[in-house]
Assembly symmetry: C2
Homo-oligomer: 148 residues x 2
DNA sequence: CTTCTTTATGAAAATGAGTCTCATTTCTGA
DNA sequence: TCAGAAATGAGACTCATTTTCATAAAGAAG
């Protein structure tokens, strides 16, 4: 509602999937479109519920499968939203990316980005005997509302 | 085997638990002792298995309870080891703390610490409208062995 | 456009980590 | 020593995620 559908991302994602050799399929396309409509992380079950009522209905397995494929291709980012549940959100093709602060009480997520943080991680990654391809940063605590 | 039991941490933890108003209990003590014997993250179920055979046996619920309490008090750090499973590891009382690089292939964890990363996070936390109490940083990629 | 082969899909069952319940035992302060 | 509070463990339960498997849709070949 606050965010309009990110059509550019959806097209980018569908193109990347085709590029990777996937056949076209209604379920996967539906997942991509649904993700394009969410600006911040959504859980797989939220997507499942959202897509289950479609005609034709999308099955839960397909949702999980699509999310996994999208993640492999670097089109979505997965993060642990609460204990035992993962959230997924679009990764913009231009490489912009953000991290999240998650409220321990209400679960609210506040996205943020910080260049000095990214720089520190990049330098660190370069000097490790480890081929770093991704990173997650999660801040945890209380949001403005729950803190009082 | 590579690491000898961290007795100092165990005493510190037990003292902190007493300080926090917990009564003494065999199960919790057993969990603390078990954690003291692991230098890197262990899953709750690993601990459960390790402690189940003790005399008297420690129940699964007690393991989870103890881990949660220890985490609340900042005595252990929780991190997502693989999809859907959490690992727990000791936090040294001197405030030193480290993060992990996790290999996507073999699951190996390489701990690291970096002061400029910590500094960036501290500064960032200070200027957010969010009361940040904790943070996780996970680097993902391929370890030296799996990269070749 | 029909056939063939492969991939995609969805319903339901299975898995597995983590949580809850509750009867029982253990602590601790009085 | 006693009563009340806290801790414990066995097992049932929840719920996110994965697997299975029979069927449907896609793309290639003819």
């Amino acid at each position: 509602m606050a965010t309009k559908t990110d059509k550019a991302w959806a097209e980018h994602a569908l193109a990347a999937l085709a590029e990777a050799g996937f056949k076209r399929g209604g379920a996967r396309t539906a997942v991509v479109e649904a993700l394009a409509g969410h600006s911040c992380a959504v859980t797989a079950l939220d997507l499942d519920e959202e897509l289950r009522r479609r005609r034709p209905a999308v099955g839960r397995a397909s949702v999980y499968r699509a999310l996994e494929q999208l993640e492999q291709l670097g089109l979505v980012q997965r993060l642990e939203v609460t204990r035992g549940t993962a959230g997924y959100e679009r990764v913009e093709p231009d490489g912009e990316h953000h991290h999240h602060a998650i409220c321990r009480d209400c679960g609210r997520m506040v996205p943020f980005e910080d260049s000095s943080l990214e720089r520190a991680i990049a330098e660190l990654s370069a000097e490790m005997s480890f081929e770093v391809t991704d990173h997650d940063v999660v801040l945890r605590g209380l949001c403005e509302r729950c803190a009082n």
